[in-house]
C-alpha cells in the first residue's frame, strides 16, 4: 500500500504541498544513502532480523491437459463423496436412486476425461482433488456428523457439489484451446446441471425465485433465534452463474469455492 492511496482512502486527500514535502524527503534520503554507499568499497549494511531463504515458485503452466486432469480429479472427488453419502445409509427413495445413478455418471465422466487426457499425451489424474478434499469434503462431513438433520444436510451437500462441478467446467470454457474440448467438458457440465436441478427438486426447492409464494412480511422479535436458510432453486436464473456456491450444513450457511488455478492438477 502506498502513501497516496492511504491518504485517499482515509478521506484526507494528499494535497500538492504535502506531496512536495514527501517527495522532497524522498530525494534527500536517497542522496544521503547514496553518499553512505561510498565509491568502490562494498561494505555490507548491517541488517536486523532473520533473513529468509526463498524458493522459486514451481513452474505451473496452464494447459488443456491440466484442465482435463483437474476434471478427472474433480470427478473422482464426486465419486468418493457419493460413496460416502450412500454408505451412510441415509438417502432413501428418490435420493437413493439419484445418488446411485449420479455416482455412476461421475464414474463414466472420470473415465471420459482420463481418455481425453491420454489422447493429448498427458497422464490422467488418478486421485481425488486435494483442494476439494480440504475445502469441501472434510469440513462438510464434519458438519454433517454433528448435524441433527444428517439426511437433509447430505442432500444439500450433493446438490452443492453438482453446482461446483457444473460451474467449474463452465469456468474452463474460455481457458480451453479448442472448441472440441470445450464441448467435451460442457457435455459433462450440462449433466451436472441436471443433477443439481433434480437434487433441488427433492430438497424442496421451487423452480426459481420468481415462483416463490408471496408471504406476508415478518416482524423480527428481539432476542429470537435467527433461523438460517439457504434458498435452493431448480432453475434459478436465465444464465448459469459462476461464483461461490452456498449450502446449508448443520444449520449454518457455508460457501464452497469453484476450483481455481490453485486447485488445478498440474
Amino acid at each position: 500500500m502506498n502513501n497516496v492511496s492511504d491518504h485517499v482512502t482515509s478521506g484526507t486527500p494528499l494535497d500538492r504541498r504535502r506531496f512536495l514535502v514527501v517527495g522532497g524527503f524522498s530525494v534527500a534520503a536517497t542522496a544521503v544513502l547514496a553518499a553512505c554507499g561510498g565509491g568502490g568499497t562494498k561494505t555490507r549494511v548491517s541488517q536486523a532480523g532473520l533473513t529468509t531463504e526463498t524458493t522459486a515458485l514451481p513452474d505451473r503452466v496452464l494447459s488443456d491437459t491440466v484442465l482435463l486432469r483437474t476434471a478427472s480429479s474433480l470427478e473422482r472427488s464426486a465419486i468418493a463423496i457419493y460413496e460416502k453419502a450412500l454408505g451412510m445409509g441415509l438417502l432413501a427413495g428418490d435420493a437413493a436412486t439419484f445418488g446411485k445413478l449420479f455416482q455412476e455418471r461421475h464414474r463414466a465422466a472420470a473415465a471420459f476425461f482420463d481418455a481425453q487426457t491420454t489422447a493429448l499425451g498427458g497422464s490422467p489424474m488418478s486421485t481425488e482433488n486435494a483442494a476439494v478434499t480440504k475445502n469441501i469434503v472434510t469440513p462438510a462431513f464434519l458438519a454433517i456428523d454433528a448435524s441433527s438433520d444428517k439426511a437433509g444436510d447430505l442432500r444439500n451437500l450433493l446438490h452443492s457439489l453438482e453446482n461446483v462441478i457444473t460451474e467449474t467446467y463452465q469456468s474452463f470454457v474460455p481457458l480451453l484451446s479448442t472448441p472440441a474440448l470445450r464441448a467435451a467438458v460442457m457435455s459433462v457440465g450440462g449433466a451436472g446441471a441436471k443433477h443439481s436441478a433434480l437434487w433441488a427438486s427433492i430438497i424442496g426447492g421451487v423452480v426459481a425465485p420468481s415462483l416463490l409464494p408471496v408471504v406476508a412480511p415478518t416482524t423480527t422479535v428481539k432476542g429470537a433465534v435467527e433461523i438460517v436458510t439457504v434458498p435452493v432453486f431448480q432453475a434459478p436464473t436465465a444464465f448459469a452463474s459462476m461464483g461461490l456456491v452456498p449450502t446449508l450444513l448443520n444449520g449454518k450457511k457455508v460457501d464452497f469455492d469453484l476450483l481455481g488455478s490453485n486447485s488445478y492438477a498440474y
Binding site: 503452466v61 494447459s63 488443456d64 491437459t65 491440466v66 486432469r69 436412486t97 439419484f98 445413478l101 449420479f102 455418471r105 463414466a108 465422466a109 471420459f112 493429448l120 499425451g121 498427458g122 497422464s123 489424474m125 457444473t166 463452465q170 470454457v173 474460455p174 484451446s177 479448442t178 472448441p179 472440441a180 470445450r182 464441448a183 460442457m186 457435455s187 459433462v188 457440465g189 450440462g190 449433466a191 451436472g192 446441471a193 441436471k194 443433477h195 443439481s196 436441478a197 433434480l198 427438486s201 423452480v207 426459481a208 420468481s210 415462483l211 431448480q234 432453475a235 436464473t237 436465465a238 444464465f239 448459469a240 498440474y266
Partner: protein
Amino acid sequence: MQRENPVATTTTTAPPRQPDEADVAVLVFSQTLELALVAVYDAAITGGRLDPAHAALATLFRSHHLEHAQAIASAAGKSSKNVANKAIIRKFVAPVGAATDQNGVLLALFQAETSAAATYGQALGQLKATDSASTVASIHPVEQRHAAVLARAIGLNPADYLLPFDGDAKMALAPSSYAIEG
C-alpha cells in the same frame, strides 16, 4: 534432477475472443432457435392444457429463452436475424397442439429443451471465439435444467433422460435441416 511432468506441454496459439464469420453463423442460428422456443412456449401457455402452476413455469422458461435470444443477438451483432426459426417452431408446436393433456404438453416442451441443449453442445464444438463460447456455455446448463424440471414434472424415469453426457447429441438441431426462412 528434472522432475517427470505428467502434463504434456504443447505450443498453442491463444484462441480468438471475437467471433469470425463461421462463429457468427452458429450464433445467428442459435438466436432463431431461442426465438422459436419462445413461440413454442407461447403455444403451450395459450393452449389451455396447463394448470396455473405449470403455466407459471412455462412463462418463466419462456422468459429465459427470450433473454437467451437477446444475449446471443448481442454476441452475433448486426448479423442477427431477430426472427424465430419457423422450421423449429413447426417441429415442436405440432406436438404441443396435439397434446390432449398437461403431460403431453410438458413432454413436447421437454423434447424441445433437450434438443436445444444438444444443439448448444454441438455449437460449443464449433465456436472458436472464447467470448461466444462463454455465452453459449452460460445458456447450455440452463436448458439442461429446464429439461430436468420438465422431466420430473412428467414423472419420467431418470435413467431415461440422464444419459451419459453426450448421449442426447442425436437430438441436436442441425442448421442444414432447419434453415432460417425469411
